[in-house]
Amino acid sequence: MVEVPIPKEKWTGKIGTTVIGAVAEEGGTRAKKVVIGGQSCMPFLSFEAPILNRPAIAGEVVDTLRDYPPLARKAFGDVVEDPVQWAKAWVEKYGVDLICLKLYSTNPEEENKSPQEAADLVRKILAAVPVPLVVYGCGHEEKDAKVMEAVSNAGSKERLLLGHAEESAYKSIAAASMANNHALIAFSNLDINLAKQINILLTDFGVRKENIVADPLMASLGMGLEYSYSVNERIRLAALMGDSMLQVPMVCDTTIAWKAREATEENESLGDIEVRAAWWEATTGLAALISGADMLIMRSPKAVQIIKKAINELLGGA
């Protein structure tokens, strides 16, 4: 019999783990923590090393429907009017591991909701669902500083994942995360060197590595997915080869898929629009997972169902 060699790579590096959420004995109220990262091989290659933590899925909840696609809204019905009910639907109906709350309504150029209102919503969602929480601001630098400080205090014992720190603005969010031992997202724009740079800045500032999750910016299918795919792979390879500043878990936001015109274009020849939109997001998500993502932020329940099935099978389940 021919002996086919099994090509086990001798990686010297290992991805660190990040814990999101705190259970009762740590002073939190989450039913279960989510642990991401910990891999010591390229994605899903269990012949190289055991896969320790399955990739986690966070369901997206936004606090204003201003820019939310009507087609995506259809999947949830009226619950999207209330972020708390929306979060509950994600957990109870679709079994997501976390909720990702995006506080877009705090944008001073739009609804301009106060940091206090944002913090109240965080409290309400924490009370309504048992899963850990990811919280993003609105992207307005000065406002986010205040909002994330309030959010940090509102979830002080819950070990939130706060988004996001970037090279030009990281100090206030790093401070907000350090104040209450939250994890945070280190964002970089499609470049392995920038991904490393933001991690260096954060650790120099005093953020511990086990509190960092990297977001290298996932581009949508058809809108530069190939760049993201290769950036993710290069980040993961460099980390496994021993670059300690890249050895943090990776999160990809697949809601970006809804930006691609073909995902939601009304055009019969392109097939059923709801099926297509879900697969557009699922395909973007699958590419993120295969190239190195440890966690996905997702919008479509149908896409979540597809990705959960894929993860199960990739880990050897039926």
Binding site: V4, M223, G224, L225, R234, R276, E313, G317
Partner: protein, 442 residues
């Protein structure tokens, strides 16, 4: 590839210099780096030539299916990751027709396979092959359906049948079209290999028990005289699909293990499961993926993923430089410009479409560079913008006397104003700010 020392051992060691290199060792080093040709040595033995030719063969064999313009080439890949150089031969998708379908169903299925096509950034994305599977168990029926399908399509064919007698009968009629035969198994390998050899068709070798068993069967088929082999390891789930494909790719290109140095065939089936298999195989080393059925709504994302993954990482996808009308603009609609880097263009396009405001978008040829990179490299100058606007007649299409420029290139404002006579409005640095700006105009 053999190392310089391995090549050196096979050279005549005369150091004659007739190859234009001072010593045989120097020549061997150039050969190892593929910077010289073995024919440059006048004294090399026939045996050395044969040895070196065999070891210089690509780590994954190039297999051709079909003939003419629609013929496909699979295999001959050299990289594990697309950023290392590129992936060369895109995954081919096949659409399978059962021979239990009646004649009109067969025709409808061929038409469906043909209809699963879309055009995108100047490329036609389509089904690449049609498969005919012998489910009837009837030699005459299979033979007839194969001949009928061959007459209805120009696409290369895959013939799926475990019985060498039926396979030979069906394939003989269309052997000139070089169909892919599926498949040789542990129970029919000798006979099936004989069919493939006689008809000069590539042959899929199927073995689902494991890679050792698969390599054994490949060796048997190869010994029977078939060179153009394709592997089917019968993955039971996505884990097996991803892991076995990766192992085969890695030992072939990194270890030059030739026993499995062939393209991979995957039967995807139908439904969601099939799409997932197709997506995984497209990213990780599948060469042919065969579908029992697929819906346009899932075929499109699959095709686009293939287009993305098989893009040359050194040559970004580019959009044709032109003046684009978005949301039905008229002469009161604003004029914008951006670069022809596809990522930039699609992002800007999506944001403009979201605003629902009609605009004229001038796409400048920056050789596929993004706004900042092109500007820094001198490939996006006010002169180029002015020239592009003149050439496209943008000033006649948008009569506002204004042009909105990307915030990143605010520095070109005054020069562009001077060259075009248009009032320059500096847009946002991120295109996500475009809807707000567009809504604020008049």
């Amino acid at each position: 590839m053999p190392t310089a020392m391995e090549i050196f051992k096979l050279l005549p060691k005369k150091n004659c210099g007739e190859c234009k290199f001072p010593t045989c060792l120097a020549f061997a080093m150039q050969l190892a780096n593929q910077k010289a040709k073995l024919e440059d040595c006048p004294y090399v033995s026939e045996q050395a030539k044969a040895t070196l030719a065999a070891s210089a063969a690509p780590p994954i064999r190039l297999v051709k299916v079909g003939t003419g313009a629609n013929a496909i080439e699979i295999g001959d890949e050299t990289e594990m990751y697309r950023h290392e150089k590129k992936f060369f031969h895109p995954t081919a998708y096949a659409f399978i027709i059962s021979d239990t379908s009646n004649d009109s169903e067969v025709k409808a299925r061929v038409e469906k396979a043909h209809s699963l096509k879309f055009e995108r950034v100047g490329q036609l994305m389509k089904m690449d092959m049609i498969g005919v599977r012998c489910d009837s168990g009837d030699l005459k029926r299979f033979t007839k359906v194969v001949s009928d399908v061959a007459a209805l399509t120009e696409l290369p064919l895959v013939l799926i049948c475990n019985d060498p007698v039926k396979m030979k009968a069906a394939a003989s009629n269309i052997a000139a079209k070089v169909p892919l035969l599926h498949c040789a198994t542990s129970s029919n390998a000798t006979e099936m290999a004989a069919v493939a050899k006689e008809l000069k068709c590539p042959l899929v070798v199927y073995e689902d028990r494991g890679l050792n068993e698969l390599a054994d069967l490949v060796a048997k088929v190869k010994a029977a005289g078939v060179e153009d082999i394709v592997l089917d390891f019968g993955a039971r789930n996505l884990k097996e699909l991803l892991e076995r494909s990766t192992i085969i790719r890695k030992i072939s290109v990194k270890k030059i293990f030739r026993g499995l140095g062939y393209p991979i065939y995957v039967h995807a089936g139908s439904g969601e499961e099939a799409v997932l298999r197709g997506l995984i195989s497209t990213m990780k080393y599948g060469s042919v993926v065969a579908f029992d059925d697929i819906d346009p709504a899932t075929a499109l994302p699959l095709y686009v993923l293939r287009q993305n993954i098989y893009t040359d990482p050194q040559v970004p996808i580019q959009v044709k430089p032109d003046l684009y009308a978005i949301n039905n603009p008229n002469e009161k609609s604003p004029l914008l410009f951006t670069t022809n880097f596809s990522l930039t263009y699609f992002t800007v396009l999506a944001d403009i479409e979201k605003s629902k405001i009609p605009v004229w978008l001038q796409v400048i040829d920056t050789e596929g560079l993004s706004v900042m990179t092109a500007f820094a490299a001198g490939k996006l100058t006010p002169e180029m913008v002015a020239k592009a606007i003149d050439a496209s007649g943008a000033k006649e299409k948008s009569r506002r006397g204004e042009i909105i420029i990307p915030g990143m290139v605010a520095r070109m404002s005054s020069k562009l104003q001077e060259l075009t006579g248009l009032k320059v409005i500096v847009g946002p640095k991120e295109s996500s700010g475009l809807p707000k700006l567009l809504k604020s105009l008049d």
